[in-house]
């Protein structure tokens, strides 16, 4: 298993007449943490969604974990995960049930202790059996973090992971990023919170209007 975690050449994505991504060339190595910066609407979310195989590229080549996104989408989805800004929670279900659902959709099952443990790790143990309808935004974010962290991943895509979180929550995310990196996974993190994003980044990529504007090491 060698080769970069992500390699794109000329990645372009259009929505009707709006060009969200214009010719992105990006390479992220395994075990690397890459921060994706840029104001709102510059294409960060679109890029992450293409890498997660949610969106098809309009043009260009995109290889994730050595697989062409247009062809091997399924194998990518088994080893990569996307943390969405708003989270993916079903209001009527409890936190624990949401995680159980996520685990089953990902192809495995999670014993009750596994669910409890995952929730405890993000500090949601005491609200595990309450419907997520009652969760605050910060709690939903933590639940989303737990959802992403359920399985072993080779690529982690984080879309605005820090928003709505208090200090403790931000620390949780950073801890998770460190763990993923230590396990050899690549992490691409998009955020408009520049300082938080930069702190752990090995590289920084700046997007502006769908194109890569600048690249560099951290700090």
């Amino acid at each position: 298993m060698s080769g970069p975690a992500v390699r794109t050449a000329g990645l372009t994505r259009r929505f009707g007449r709006r060009w969200a991504l214009r010719g992105i060339d990006l390479e992220v190595a395994r075990g690397e943490v890459c921060a994706l910066l840029g104001a709102n609407g510059t294409g960060k979310t679109t890029l992450l969604r293409v890498l997660a195989t949610l969106l098809r590229p309009t043009a260009g080549t995109v290889e994730v974990l050595g697989v062409d996104v247009r062809r091997g989408g399924d194998s990518i989805r088994g080893r990569a995960a996307l943390m969405t800004p708003a989270g993916h929670t079903y209001e009527e279900l409890t936190g624990a049930e949401n995680l159980r659902f996520a685990a089953r959709m990902a192809g495995g099952t999670l014993a009750t202790e596994g669910v409890r443990e995952a929730l405890a790790r993000v500090g949601l143990a005491d609200v595990a059996d309450q419907p997520t309808r009652s969760y605050s935004t910060g709690m939903r974010k933590r639940l989303e973090l737990a959802r992403v962290g359920l399985r072993r991943l080779d690529l982690v895509l984080l879309d605005e992971p820090f928003t709505s979180l208090d200090e403790a929550g931000v620390a949780l995310v950073q801890e998770a990023i460190a763990d993923w990196k230590a396990a050899g996974a690549a992490v691409i993190l998009a955020s408009h919170r520049v300082d938080d994003a930069r702190r752990q980044a090995d590289r920084v990529v700046r997007l502006e209007r769908g194109s890569v504007m600048a690249e560099g090491g951290s700090a």
């Binding site: 989805r77 929670t89 009527e92 192809g107």
Partner: protein, 222 residues
Amino acid sequence: MRRAGAILWKDLLTELRTRQGFSAMLSFAALVLFLFSFAIGPETELLARLAGGLLWVAIVFTGTLALGRAFQSEELAGGVRLLRLYPGDPRAIYLGKLAANLVLLAALEAVLFPATEILFQADLGSHALPLAAVAVLGTGGFSIVGTFFSALTVHLRARELLLPLLLFPALVPIVLGAVGATDAVLAGDALGRAGGWIRLLTAYDVILFVVCVWIFPIVLEE
């Protein structure tokens, strides 16, 4: 598919928790049946003859309501497309939703059939088995096409208008078949005419199921 089962479980759990969906369906169906009773008049013989047709009209109206909500819970959670983030065949989503819709409609029909028997003096009980077969085939066909178009229209603005519009042509064989078979069974002709309709419904269900399952991933693509 286990993932389809997961979706089924999630949807049923949600429905159990709120219960408003089902009770809304039930009240609506009851309303339809009552209104028809009033509109047609108290002639018991007429009502009994029309029972099959009225029953299925109530089922279709109510079913369309249920379909409209089928993917709404997904929209509230962030969009049905997010389910595609998980590995595995996206068709599991269709199958799970289809199963959930079938369970819901089955629960509805468990109430509607006796209600029709009472309101319209139709003797449904003594033909329970063949009627059950017709119910399965008719409801199945409805759900197969309905779930499909529901997934398609959930992303469109005029969803409430478009779903019935797209659904209507697909429903013609189902309604004709289900009502035809129901009437034939009630008239005591279980194997003759009813048999013909049942064959038609079965063929329709099978063909539509295969096509819908096959094509479904394209509906979710982006």
